[in-house]
């Protein structure tokens, strides 16, 4: 199967690079280094026996998605929209951002991910989810690695079925 371009997007400091590093290198660092421009890496995942190469673009965080250069999204098959479960300002534009991304990538797979699960109680996570205008696809922790692999497996399945 040919490679698929996947964009990791969302506000700054939500843990996009941490998810990227955990998924690609199985590493996590507490040190916060802001992403400048883009970092691209590749991982081949196995989805129900099918090898699927994912080209993942970890892009610099922006408060609003319309501030991200459109050229980064060109030719992408999917966007993983990450927000920080502990910071409401990172998901207050969820609806607007998702509408914008859907316009930009009609027919593309968009995953909504709440990260930093390890810093919240299950009840608090449910509260956040209930307050959102859209369903969250998965909650993850880049620190513990919880649901990181599952996120990309879900994404792979969606990409193959499209």
């Amino acid at each position: 199967m040919t490679s698929k371009k996947v964009i990791l997007s969302g506000s700054f400091g939500v843990g996009k690079t941490s998810l990227f590093n955990k998924f690609i290198h199985n590493k996590f660092s507490d040190k916060y280094l802001t992403t400048i421009g883009v970092k691209v890496n590749k991982k081949v995942i196995n989805v129900d026996g099918t090898e699927l190469p994912l080209l993942i673009w970890d892009i610099a965080g922006e408060v609003s998605q319309n501030k991200v250069p459109n050229s980064y999204f060109l030719g992408a098959s999917s966007v993983i929209y990450v927000f920080d479960l502990t910071r409401p300002q990172t998901y207050k534009n969820l609806q607007t951002d998702l509408d914008y991304l859907k316009d930009l990538l009609p027919g593309g797979v968009i995953k909504v991910v709440g990260n930093k699960k390890d810093l919240m109680t299950p009840e608090a996570i449910e509260e956040v989810k209930a307050s959102l205008p859209l369903p969250v696809d998965i909650v993850t922790s880049a620190k513990t690695g919880e649901n990181v692999e599952e996120l990309f497996q879900q994404l792979g399945r969606d990409l193959i079925s499209v």
Partner: protein, 276 residues
């Protein structure tokens, strides 16, 4: 008395009418004939159609002569109105092409002058002449061998929008080439977006003696990584090679599958890696 006057007036009127009849007889006859033509459409068209056809024929034959001046004036007026718009649209493209061409030709000229000055009386030049005399090999061929110190290390065809690799060829195994293609595209997008230079593309990335030449096409771009110093004429050769490759191998490809990627890769190897 009154009766006599009335009788005289009546006879004058009759005489006048008779006179009118004599004088206007022919005119009245013509008028009634014309009326008969006009009121009968069949007769009228029979008479008029040949005239119209004749005029149309004349119009067809003489239109350019008769109306050229009018049309020319109209076109001139329209062009003058839209002149600014046309210049606005064309000038960036033309300017870019002219600037590139002039700069490039100046670079080639400068190098030629430098090389001529440097090599005429140098030790290498004398050595080359002696070698040529004794070996029988043309001096120009020896010069080409001396210049041929650049090596194409890698060549890629990359989808312009997504950055996905459409073909690859390299002298040695390097980093994951999919990642290189992605990062090159990201850098290109970043630079082109950051400096917002319309109709300008990133054409080269250089560090030390390592250079990556980028040539953009409609839906893809070709990136050629090479090692060594490179003159303008050598750069020109590589760009021409890239153009030839695009023209011969990529023009008809509009769908990229695993098979086409393999095909492009093998062609890339043939064109860029085996040649050197």
């Amino acid at each position: 008395m009154e009766n006599t006057r009335t009788k005289t007036a009546k006879s004058e009127e009759a005489l006048l009418e008779e006179l009118r009849d004599i004088l206007l007889r022919e005119d009245r006859q013509s008028l009634s004939e014309v009326e008969a033509y006009i009121t009968n459409p069949e007769r009228f068209s029979k008479r008029v159609l040949p005239i119209i056809e004749e005029q149309l024929e004349f119009f067809k034959k003489h239109f350019p002569d008769e109306y050229r001046k009018v049309v020319d004036r109209q076109i001139e007026a329209r062009l003058s109105t839209f002149k600014d718009d046309m210049i606005g649209h064309l000038s960036p493209v033309m300017g870019k092409m002219i600037r590139k061409y002039v700069a490039h030709q100046f670079q080639i000229l400068k190098e030629k002058i430098d090389n001529t000055v440097k090599s005429t009386f140098t030790f290498n030049s004398v050595k080359r002449k002696v070698k040529s005399t004794f070996s029988g090999v043309d001096e120009r061929e020896l010069l080409l061998v001396e210049l041929d110190n650049t090596v194409i290390e890698e060549a890629y065809v990359i989808q312009r929008d997504s950055g996905l690799l459409l073909g690859k060829a390299s002298r040695e195994e390097t980093l994951d080439q999919d990642v290189i293609a992605g990062m090159l595209t990201a850098i290109k997008a970043f630079v082109e977006d950051a400096f917002k230079r319309e109709s300008e593309d990133l054409e080269m990335i250089q560090y030390g003696t390592y250079k990556i030449f980028i040539q953009d096409y409609h839906s893809y771009y070709i990136a050629i990584a090479l090692q060594g110093s490179l003159s303008a004429s050598e750069k020109e050769k590589i760009m021409t090679l890239s153009l030839n490759f695009a023209e011969r191998e990529l023009r008809t490809l509009n769908k990229f599958t695993e098979e086409t990627i393999k095909h492009i890769s093998s062609k890339l190897h043939k064109y860029f890696i085996q040649k050197k």
